[in-house]
Symmetry: C2
Subunit: 210 residues, 2 copies
DNA sequence: GTCTATAAGTTGATAGAC
DNA sequence: GTCTATCAACTTATAGAC
């Protein structure tokens, strides 16, 4: 995982990309705007202002306000996928370690990038049809990664699970929904939330149907 | 629970209120608009149109577009609270029955009213300061109801739970997040989702820390 | 109570100076 | 590449006819 600012991250990239510095500033400004007022209520002027640019400059780097949103949402999902794929694959019979790592990674990523994550989750319906379809494919990949861990664990006998599909959705619900609760100045930190999610989900897989 | 339409509910009220029929129609139209396009992207003309009224008629019944949203969100939360308060209180030592009923009620309500629920959850940040504060109080009441069940169960020894506060948040995450997954024509019904949520959450309370 | 007309302001996006 | 100026369209909310 990148050394993300645990207090509040408003950067547009995990640090592994090639986008003009000004475009990055626009993405960062857009995250701040969208997170506080929502996509529709944020004007292109607001975004340019946040990036210390004037009204028309946005259109040098992005075809439209919607293209900017797509870039932002698409990169957030890509970064989650990259973080999950960086985890060591599971030895047969040791799927619990991988699943715990996946839950921890997901929770930490969403807490550490809670502004980007909130925008990426909340403003999804504002994407154009083909852009939405592209992000849906990324989301399907993330779901598939988790499901294969759960299914493998069930087959090797270390997990019990009535319905892996519903369990994976519950996992994503818990790990993503922290962006709605999480408050950087609050009582709970990323570790607390990750531990809670691991406890609840892993306990189920150990004791389901008993 | 009221006999809600399990396919798709777009009515504005649980059936227990005193609002002019035209105002109800406006609320119902607003739910359809907000659910499909979002609050900011829905114009007052869209809403009036959906209610078979002309441009200015909205302002006879609501001070502003934001007041209409508040009415809608506030009523959704009130109905959830009413449904939870209708459950029989727990005998000491039998808190599991109440918690299971609460989880089932929450999941079913959000599935049966998934359009209203989606609007009430998603468009919350568009409320004015004082209106948002009022809804936050309702949400605190819902959280407190669940927490008292969990805490009572821990004290009577039928539950184990490392942190009731985090567990209640996880419960709400799971029961509410179904509005993002749920598809009326899809493979899973309200009963499936409720059973899955009960399984995951109750299994944890029975086996936590073992 | 519902309608049409309109006010007053804002929007996304473009054109052309520098 | 960035700026300012501007377009055409659309927004919420109000006023006054019926």
């Amino acid at each position: 995982m990148p050394a993300a600012n645990a207090q509040e991250d408003a950067t547009a990239d995990g640090g592994q990309d090639s986008l003009p510095a000004t475009a990055q500033r626009l993405l960062t400004g857009a995250i701040a705007c969208f997170a506080s007022k929502g996509y529709q209520a944020s004007t292109t002027r607001d975004i340019c202002n946040e990036a210390d640019l004037s009204a028309g400059a946005l259109y040098v780097y992005f075809e439209s306000k919607e293209h900017l949103l797509f870039e932002l949402v698409q990169r957030a999902h890509r970064d989650v996928l990259v973080a999950l794929e960086a985890l060591a694959p599971a030895e047969p019979g040791a799927e619990a370690d991988l699943l715990v790592a996946q839950i921890r990674t997901l929770t930490h990523w969403h807490v550490d990038n809670h502004l980007r994550a909130r925008v990426a989750q909340t403003e999804l319906p504002n994407l154009r049809g083909d852009h939405l379809a592209a992000v849906r494919r990324q989301r399907t990949s993330i779901e598939a990664l988790l499901r294969s861990t759960v299914v493998a664990g069930c087959e090797s006998g270390v997990f019990r699970c009535a319905d892996p599909q519903l369990f994976v959705r519950a996992t994503l619900s818990l790990c993503i929904d922290v962006i709605r609760w999480y408050n950087p100045g609050g009582h709970y930190g990323a570790d607390d939330l990750a531990r809670s999610n691991v406890d609840i989900l892993h306990t189920y897989l150990q004791h389901a149907g008993q």
